[in-house]
């Protein structure tokens, strides 16, 4: 059963299957939201803070997610799998470019 994920920064919601990462689910929307980088837990651009909801994770680089981040559920969306409905906000280093007031004309709307 798919779960609903809400990006609080822009109010967009999408569905995400339990076997899909939060990033894969969002990519199916074909619109802007969480920045997409390596999709392997190594580059850190898709960092989000999970505000509510249950989930599981796979390995991600400590360069981007340390113990404090884990305690505060600041994780890489490409490595987080939903176990229920979730809400999150984007905190990766490209956050401004994807959630800022000015749309980036190079990216699909």
């Amino acid at each position: 059963m798919a779960h609903t994920v809400r990006i609080e920064d822009n109010g967009v919601s999408y569905t995400c299957a339990p076997a899909e990462s939060l990033l894969e689910g969002m990519q199916r929307l074909g619109r802007r939201g969480i920045p997409v980088g390596c999709r392997g837990g190594g580059c850190g651009v898709c960092k989000v803070e999970i505000l509510e909801g249950e989930f599981s994770t796979r390995a991600m680089s400590r360069d981007h997610v340390d113990d404090d981040d884990r305690r505060h559920r600041r994780l890489l969306a490409c490595r987080v799998y939903p176990a229920g409905d979730l809400s999150l906000r984007v905190i990766g280093k490209l956050q401004k470019s994807v959630c800022g007031a000015t749309p980036d004309p190079r990216l699909p709307a």
Binding site: V36, G37, C38, R39, G40, G41, G42, C43, V45, R58, A59, M60, S61, R62, D63, K93, L94, S97, R106
Partner: protein, 309 residues
């Protein structure tokens, strides 16, 4: 003999987040040949047409990225001379004993002002490419396993102090500057492409605030058709692709950028022009960086500047 000193890229050691998943990727999808495992848990690979024991080593770690990048030099006398030259230049060097890495002689290691560890070595066991040296066939069966590049070609590293890095490579190690991209104000280099032979580059650097970052390790393909076939295999295996297939303006090489399962970018690359050490450096202004990166699309992909491991 014209080619002396530093000969070619010899090895990269990369950190991966899940060893088994990464071994499967590098063997079955990229199509490297596994040549050994050591007591540190490292797994050694070579490209099918390489003759040395290994060119690509992975180890499991809690973060992705590059441990070090090594170059083969002509012989041990060259190794000793370059070690002395690096020290005379003011760099601290370290000797890693023979055998620390499988089938590899003594290595000289030093840290660049960009935060990267570079190694030089003169000896590594030749295991061959599966083709006899007498009456050799043009290729071996391993050529058809996965993407199957023919060699580790070069790396692009991101870090600070690119101007100081350039001086070390050109003034101590005998490299020359083939191409460069200027900073927006035109007063410095944002990125540099350096060669130690007649390849269009053996190592490249881009100015970046965080030290020691890996942009990509590049693997050489035989033809544009092999690059397209690599793209097919990436999609068949749901490998995340960054850019391409396309052609770079810088180097004229044809390319796909993609990521391994830990977010280390790699490149399947072919072509490029053939520079000589006497050629003038080619310069790209920053406003043409898009064409330099992706010539047909004329696009400075955001991930190129921001996504590293």
């Amino acid at each position: 003999m014209a080619l002396t000193g530093v000969l070619r890229p010899g090895h990269a050691q990369i950190r991966v987040l899940d060893l088994d998943e990464s071994v499967r990727f590098y063997k079955d999808v990229l199509g490297l040949v596994e040549t050994g495992r050591d007591a540190h848990g490292r797994v050694y690979f070579k490209c099918w047409d390489e003759r040395d024991h290994h060119s690509f080593v992975i180890r499991e770690a809690d973060r992705a990225g590059l441990d070090f990048f090594g170059f083969r030099v002509l012989d041990t006398a060259t190794l000793d001379k370059l070690d002395a030259d690096l020290q005379a230049y003011g760099l601290k060097t370290e000797r890693i004993p023979a055998g620390e890495m499988l089938a590899t002689g003594e290595r000289v290691r030093f840290e660049l002002p960009s935060g990267h560890l570079i190694e030089l070595f003169a000896e590594k066991t030749k295991v061959g490419n599966g083709i006899p040296l007498i009456n050799p066939a043009p290729w071996a069966k391993a050529r058809d396993n996965g993407i199957a590049p023919i060699r580790l070609d070069h790396t692009l590293l991101y870090g600070p102090n690119v101007a100081a890095v350039q001086k070390i490579f050109t003034e101590v190690l005998g490299f020359y500057l083939v191409e460069r991209v200027l900073t927006p104000d035109g007063n410095a280099n944002a990125a540099i492409w350096l060669s130690c032979g007649q390849k269009v580059h053996d190592i490249a650097f881009a100015e970046y605030p965080e030290p020691g970052k890996l942009h990509h390790c590049s693997f050489l393909m035989e033809s544009w058709e092999h690059v397209l076939r690599a793209g097919d295999i990436m999609s068949m295996n749901a490998v995340p692709v960054d850019i391409g297939p396309t052609r770079h303006g810088v180097t004229r090489g044809c390319t796909i950028y993609a990521w391994d399962p830990s977010g280390n970018r790699f490149e399947t690359f072919m072509g490029g022009h053939l520079p000589y050490p006497d050629y003038e450096t080619m310069t790209w202004t920053f406003d043409n960086f898009g064409q330099g990166l992706d010539y047909p699309q004329r696009k400075l992909h955001e991930t190129f500047l921001t996504v590293v491991s």
